[in-house]
Amino acid sequence: MSEFTERLLVGPRRKGSTDRVRLIWLLVIPLIAILFQVYVPRFVQFLTYLELPLLVTVHFALSGRGPIASVFYGMFIGLVQDSLSHQPIGMFGIVKTLVGYFAASVSMRFDVENPIVTFILSFFFYFFHQFFYWVLARALLGQAMLFDAPQTLLFGLLNAAVALPLFRILDKLRVAA
């Protein structure tokens, strides 16, 4: 195992692993992300590809707060997102619960401070989120949704590109305990 690979796998957790984010930020940041998802595409059409609630969930999970906290955090954001949609409540909740769990699990294995790792994980979880939602919609709701893989891959790249500066901003919003 090379030094680089070793550093990627067993490197230090994100700086916020020991930080405590104020509770208000735990509520405000997802709310802002959901507001962005609801409100901004009305005026800026090309920003509809952004999945900020997912990125906030991934960021929270990669911050090393544990899988259980990430599970509930993802479930909370997903349920709020479901509440503002016409779908049955729980679709986004299940998906983001899984994302939170897997992201939190991965953050224990990889150096999530590395931008490349952040980019790849963001791209992967976006694709997983969209694909699993499509599976749930077909399996549970029986909806004949189309899954446009190239478009999903492209949007995954764009979201991963947005995730890099976004995670930097969210890291700066942390308040040291």
Binding site: I32, G66, I68, V80, S83, L84, P88
Partner: protein, 459 residues
């Protein structure tokens, strides 16, 4: 069990969370019922923030957006103003072109319908001499133009060529102080000399006071000056009044009205007849006379108008005397007593009672006329206005109104003034008619040994 939960706590929590949400979905699908509580909570949490965001956007980004919109409006306004200015210029240019085309068409029609040989020219500039009314035209001796040639427009005469250069010519306008031309009135065929005054009007000089010229009467070129062919319109008399020696007749030249841009130079003039009837002009409209006025000057008023003559004033005095004595002119029978003209109001002040009895005024031989001058030239009015001798003879008085002057006491009969012969003022050279004017070169026909062109009958 406890071991399993403690060892796979994370996975257990995940499974529980997934299972709970699956049950929630199953419940919603199975019962076809929603979970309004969660939705209300979510919407209640999001809506205030959304409203606040909308408020902030409206008063921040909205202002910025409106600002940029206004910037666009201002730019659009500037563009529209610029476009409007360009369109105005284009419109003005097209109107000018259209007007030029109309004038050229009028010149061509006039040139085709006039027997005189003419050449069209365009006015290119003004003369530089002080107080002069001169213009340059773009035709010169190369086009056959020579000094002394007449310059006209379809409306009337414009002037005459004073200098002919190869490519240009200098034209003295009719309003120039040194200009003179022979004219004749349309209605009464009174001849005179048109002289420029240096401003917009001209004067017809050398017309005797006894000559009859009506205000508004047209004047035409008489052809006497050997420059302008006979029959070209000159203008209408705007002011006609008696002067010390000659009548003061002012004419507004029609050839210069409406601007001067294209003219016609008469290369070979042909005399024409003076047209009868009204002369149509493009820019000068004469209103019809008032219903209660005749062709004569205003009468019956104590204060004569500006255009009234001495004869009019004298007739007015006699008419007042007749009215004071309850005498109606034109109704007297042969042998009846005429009014007492020795008591004319204003002349014999105090001699005439305010309202003399009719019997006194009608008494035969009560008074004698003090003048032999008839005051009415109309046949119908001759019986009463004519002197006693004429009335006794029963002959209608057809003499022209005399230039009689009332005298103080005692009243002396004024012999009728002999009408001066209607001698036309023949002006063969404008310099003869305007002694003070600058000597102009004579026209070609004035060269020694060259006979003048044949005059039409009656000239």
């Amino acid at each position: 069990m406890e071991f399993f939960l403690s060892r796979y706590r994370n996975l257990t929590v995940l499974l529980i969370a997934i299972a709970a949400q699956l049950l929630l979905i199953a419940y919603q699908i199975k019962s076809n019922r929603d979970v309004p509580m969660l939705r209300v909570w979510a919407v209640s949490a999001v809506t205030p923030a959304e409203q606040a965001l909308n408020f902030v956007r409206r008063y921040t980004w909205g202002f910025v957006e409106d600002y940029f919109v206004l910037l666009g409006v201002r730019n659009d306004n500037e563009k529209l103003k610029q476009q409007n200015g360009q369109l105005k210029l284009e419109n003005h240019y097209l109107k000018t072109e259209l007007s030029t085309a109309d004038r050229v068409r009028a010149l061509s029609a006039f040139q085709a319908n006039t027997p005189s040989k003419m050449i069209a020219a365009r006015v290119t500039g003004n003369g530089t001499a002080a107080n002069s009314k001169e213009v340059f035209i773009d035709r010169g001796s190369a086009s056959g133009i020579e000094s002394g040639m007449a310059v006209v427009t379809p409306d009337g005469i414009v002037g005459k060529v004073v200098f002919a250069y190869p490519m240009a010519a200098l034209v003295m306008l009719v309003t120039d102080g040194n200009f003179a031309a022979g004219v004749i009135s349309q209605k009464n065929r009174v001849r005179g000399t048109l002289k420029g005054l240096g401003h917009s009007d001209c004067q017809v000089d050398y017309v005797q006071n006894e000559e009859k010229v009506d205000p508004g009467e047209w004047f035409f070129t008489s052809g006497d000056d050997r420059i302008f062919p006979k029959g070209f319109p000159v203008g209408q008399a705007t002011v006609v009044r008696s002067g010390k020696t000659f009548k003061e007749i002012y004419v507004s030249p029609v050839g210069l009205q409406g601007g001067l841009e294209e003219v016609l130079v008469v290369l070979q003039g042909v005399h024409q007849q003076i047209p009868e009837g009204e002369v149509s002009t493009q820019n000068y409209k004469i209103l019809p006379p008032p219903p209660d006025s005749g062709t004569e000057a205003p009468q019956g008023t104590g204060q004569p108008g500006v255009l009234a003559t001495d004869a009019d004033r004298l007739r007015d005095q006699y008419k007042q005397a007749g009215d004071a004595q309850h005498h109606t002119f034109g109704e007297g029978t042969p042998g009846s007593t005429p009014p007492d003209f020795t008591k004319i109001p204003g002349v014999h002040a105090g001699a005439l009672p305010p309202k003399p009895p009719a019997s006194v005024a009608a008494k035969p031989g009560a008074s004698q006329p003090t003048t032999t001058a008839p005051t009415e030239s109309k046949p119908g009015a001759a019986g009463a206005a004519a002197p006693a001798g004429s009335v006794a003879n029963g002959a209608p008085a057809t003499k022209k109104p005399p230039v009689a002057r009332t005298q103080p006491e005692p009243a002396v009969p004024i012999p009728p003034a002999k009408p001066r012969p209607r001698t036309p003022i023949l002006v063969t050279d404008p310099t003869d008619a305007d002694p003070g004017g600058e000597a102009l070169p004579p026209p070609k026909s004035e060269k020694p040994g060259v006979k003048p062109p044949p005059r039409p009958p009656g000239q």
